[in-house]
Amino acid sequence: MEELVNLFHGFAVALQPFNIMVMVLGIVLGVIIGVLPGLGGANGVAILLPLTFSMPPTSAIIMLSCIYWGALFGGAITSILFNIPGEPWSVATTFDGYPMAQQGKAGEALTAAFTSSFVGALFAVVMITLVAPLVAGFALQFGPAEKFAVYFLAFCSFVGLSKEPPFKTIAAMMIGFALAAVGLDSITGQLRLTFGFTPLLNGFDFLIAVIGLFGIGEILLTMEEGLAFRGGKAKINLRVVLQTWKELPKYWMTSLRSCFIGCWMGVTPAGATPASFMSYGIAKRMAKNGKNFGKGEIEGVVAPETAAHAAGTSALLPMLSLGVPGSPTAAVLLGGLLIWGLQPGPMLFVEQKEFVWGLIASMYLGNIVGLIVVLTCVPIFAAILRVPFSIIAPLILVLCAIGAYSVHSSTFDVMLMLVFGVIGYLLKKCNYPLAPLVLAIVLGDKAEEAFRQSLLGSQGSFGVFLSNPLVSTIMILGLIALFWSLIQEGYSRLRSAATA
C-alpha cells in the first residue's frame, strides 16, 4: 500500500502546472523526432538533454521521458504512411500498417497503432508500479546464454511466417547476417569484412539499411507504378478514431498477449525490437484471420505496436533499478540522471522516492497526454497522403537523406542508403521478403555476441544452453515455434487418423 501512497504523491508532483507544460512540450518534440527517420529517440533525447539542465531534476526527467514517449508514438506514423520505419521496433508495424494505408485506411491504421501503443505502455506502467522490486530481480538472471535463448526465440517465432518460399526467406536472412557481421568483431576486438575501407569500421547501421530498403525502395516502386500514392482517399475526420475504437476491443486477446510479450522482453535486456517481431509472429499464428496478415489486417498493427510500447516502457525498470539501459534512448536518459546526481541502482527507489514516483506518475500522465495529442492529429497525418506524389516524394527523399546522415553525421551513409534503396527495389521485384533481412541486421550481431560469450564462459560446451530451467525453457519454446507448422500438421493427421 505504501507504493500507492507514494504514487499519489508522485501524481501531485507531476500535475504541477509547470510539469504539465513540460509534458506537452516533450510529447510534441518527441513526435516530431519520431517522424524524422533516423533522428530517432536516442539522438533526440541527446540533443535536447542540455536544455533541461536548468530545470529541477524531476521536471527534467519528465520532459525527457515524454520526448521518449512522443518518439515511440511518432515512429508509427512514417511506418504506416510511407513504409519507412523510423525506429527498429516500427518495422513490424509496416507489414500491415502500410497495406492498410494503401487501401485508404490510413486513419484506422494510425488510430489502432496509437491506441495499442497506449494500452501497451499503460499495462507496463501498472506492472512497474505494482511489482517493480520483484521484476527487477528477474533481469539479473539473464546471462549471455539466456540472452541468446531470447534472440533464438525471436528468430524462430519469425521463421516460416513469410508467404514467400522458405528458401527466399532463408536467403534474405543470410544476407542480413552477413551485413550484420561487418565491422568490429566485439569478441576478438579485430576488424572483419571491412577490406581496409575505413567507412565500413562501423558496420552497416540498421537505420540506414531500413531507410534505404523500405523508404527509397518504396519510392522507386511507386514511380514505376505510375507516380501516385494509393490511399489518397483516406477519410480525414475525427470520426474515424471513434469507429476504429469500436472495432478494437475484438482484439483483446492479441492485445493482452502482446502486453505480456512486451513486458517480458522489456525487463529482460532484449528490448522492444525482438518484442515487436515476436508479438507479430505469434499473433499471425494465433489469430483467426492470420492468413491475411501482411495484406492490411488491423490486428497486425495492434500486435507489434502494443508489444513495442510495453517493452519500451518496462525497459525503464532495469535502467532505474540496475543502472542498465534497455535501449539506446534509455542509455541517454541514464546519462541525464547521473548529471543531476541521481545514481540509478538498487538504492534509487529508497533514497530518491520523490523522483522515482514522480517519474512513474509522469509515465501515466505522459502517455495519456501523448494519446490525446497524436489522436487529434490523425486527420492531419492521414491528409498528407492527399498531397500529390510529385511534391511529397522529393520531400521524403530529403527526409531520408537527412535521417541517414544524422545517424553518424557521415555523407557516406547517404550513399549507402541509396545503394540499399536499389537493392530493396530489386529484392521486392524478385519477391524476396525484406523483413527477415532486417531482423537479421538488427539482431544478428547481438545474437552472435551472446552466443560466443556463452561458449567462452562454458569453455566451448553447448550444454550451457540447457544448463538451467530458465534457459532451457526459452530454448525449447524457440524450437516449438520453429517447428510449429510441422507440429500442427502432425497433430491434424493424428486426429484425422483417429476419426477415420
Binding site: G189, T198, L201, G323, V332, G335, P344, G345, G457
Partner: protein
C-alpha cells in the same frame, strides 16, 4: 596564376589579423558550433563525461558557440579518431579519449596514432577496482587470489568492457602476477559488466568506480583493491561505513599492477597555439564548477590536470607502456 592570388590573399589576411589581433587579449574564439567527438557509445564513461561537460558549458554559458556531443564509436572508437585526424586545421572539433587512444590502433591496425592529434589537456584519470559479488566469501584481494590459484586454470570468469582494451590488459597483468588463467568475457559496456557480476554470470570484474558504485551502495558488490599506487582520495562513506579511501591498493595485496585510464582532450591536427590555449582555459573554468567537482566525487576520479608539454610527455610514456603491455599479451594486430 590562381595559386598566386590565393597566396596574396592569404598574405593580406595574415597581415590584417596580425595587425589587428596582435594584443594578447584578442585571443582566438570559436566562430561556429564546436563538435565534441566521443569515440565510444552512448551511456559509457567517456560519453557521460562529455555530456556532463556539455551540460556545464550550457548552464554556465562558458562558450559563445554551442558544444555538440557526437558519438563515433565504430571500430572500437577508430571511427572517431580517424574523423578528427582527417579534420586537420579545423579548430571546431575536439575529442575526448579513453585508453582506446592507444589500444585501438594497436589491436585493429587502423592507420592512426595519438601523434596525429594536438594534445589539449588531461581532465582526469579513471581508476580501476577489482570487484566480486558480495555473496562470495572473499573479503580481501588475497583471499580471492588464493581461491583463483586453487581453482583449475580457466574456470574463473573475468568480465570486462571490450576486447583487447584496458579491462583485458589488466586481466592479463593479474594473470601474470598470480600465475594462472582467467576466462575473459567481453561485454559492450561497463554498466552491463557490473550487472553480470551481480547476477553471478562472471566471478570478478575490474570496473571503474562509477560503473559499479550503485551496486556497491546497494550491497550487491564488494570492492577488493584498487589498481593504483595509492588509495583513492575520497573519504565520504559509500557503503557499510566504508569509503573509496578504505579500499587497499592491489600492490599491497600482492598484485603488482597499476593502471589508470586517461580522460583527456585532443584537437584536430595543425591547431594553433591560440586555439589550444582557448580550450585549456575553457576546461580550467569547467573544472572550477561545483557540478564538475560533484561528478569527480561520484566517480572517485583521480583529478590530475595536465596541459602542454607535460601532458604530451605523459601520453607518450603511456603509449610506450601500452605497446609493451599489448605486445606481451599478444594483442597486436597481425599488420603491426
Amino acid at each position: 596564376m590562381r595559386r598566386s592570388t590565393h597566396l596574396a590573399l592569404g598574405a593580406i589576411a595574415a597581415l590584417c589579423t596580425g595587425g589587428v589581433a596582435a594584443p594578447a587579449t584578442a585571443a582566438w574564439e570559436p566562430v561556429r558550433p564546436v563538435e565534441f567527438i566521443v569515440p565510444a557509445g552512448t551511456g559509457g564513461g567517456a560519453d557521460q563525461m562529455a555530456r556532463t561537460i556539455q551540460g556545464i558549458v550550457t548552464k554556465h554559458t562558458l562558450m559563445k558557440q554551442p558544444l555538440v556531443v557526437i558519438n563515433k564509436s565504430g571500430g572500437a572508437g577508430g571511427e572517431g579518431f580517424l574523423d578528427v585526424k582527417g579534420s586537420g586545421g579545423n579548430p571546431h572539433k575536439i575529442i575526448i579519449t579513453l585508453s582506446n587512444l592507444f589500444t585501438t590502433p594497436l589491436a585493429t591496425g587502423i592507420p592512426f596514432s595519438w601523434k596525429d592529434l594536438t594534445p589539449v589537456a588531461m581532465l582526469a584519470l579513471d581508476e580501476f577496482v577489482l570487484w566480486v559479488n558480495a555473496d562470495k566469501p572473499y573479503k580481501t584481494a588475497k583471499e580471492y587470489i588464493d581461491a583463483v590459484k586453487a581453482a583449475p586454470a580457466g574456470s574463473i570468469k573475468m568480465g570486462g568492457t571490450g576486447s583487447k582494451q584496458e579491462d583485458q590488459i589488466i586481466t592479463v597483468a593479474v594473470e601474470k602476477a598470480v600465475g594462472t588463467k582467467f576466462t575473459y568475457i567481453p561485454y559492450k559496456g561497463g554498466g552491463e559488466v557490473a550487472v553480470q557480476l551481480v547476477g553471478n554470470h562472471v566471478d570478478s570484474t575490474v570496473n571503474n568506480p562509477i560503473e559499479a558504485v550503485a551496486q556497491w551502495r546497494g550491497g550487491k558488490l564488494r570492492p577488493l583493491c584498487v589498481f593504483d599506487a595509492k588509495p583513492m582520495a575520497y573519504d565520504e562513506p559509500i557503503a557499510d561505513g566504508k569509503a573509496w579511501k578504505d579500499i587497499p591498493t592491489c600492490k599491497s595485496a600482492g598484485l603488482d599492477m597499476e593502471y589508470l585510464m586517461l580522460r583527456g582532450i585532443f584537437m584536430a591536427p595543425r591547431a594553433t597555439k591560440d586555439q589550444v590555449e582557448y580550450y585549456v582555459e575553457l576546461f580550467k573554468k569547467i573544472r572550477a564548477t561545483p557540478e564538475w567537482q560533484d561528478f569527480m566525487k561520484s566517480g572517485a576520479f583521480n583529478t590530475t590536470f595536465l596541459t602542454g608539454a607535460e601532458y604530451a610527455k605523459w601520453v607518450e610514456a603511456e603509449d610506450k607502456r601500452h605497446q609493451a603491455l599489448m605486445k606481451e599479451a599478444g594483442f597486436l594486430a597481425p599488420s603491426n
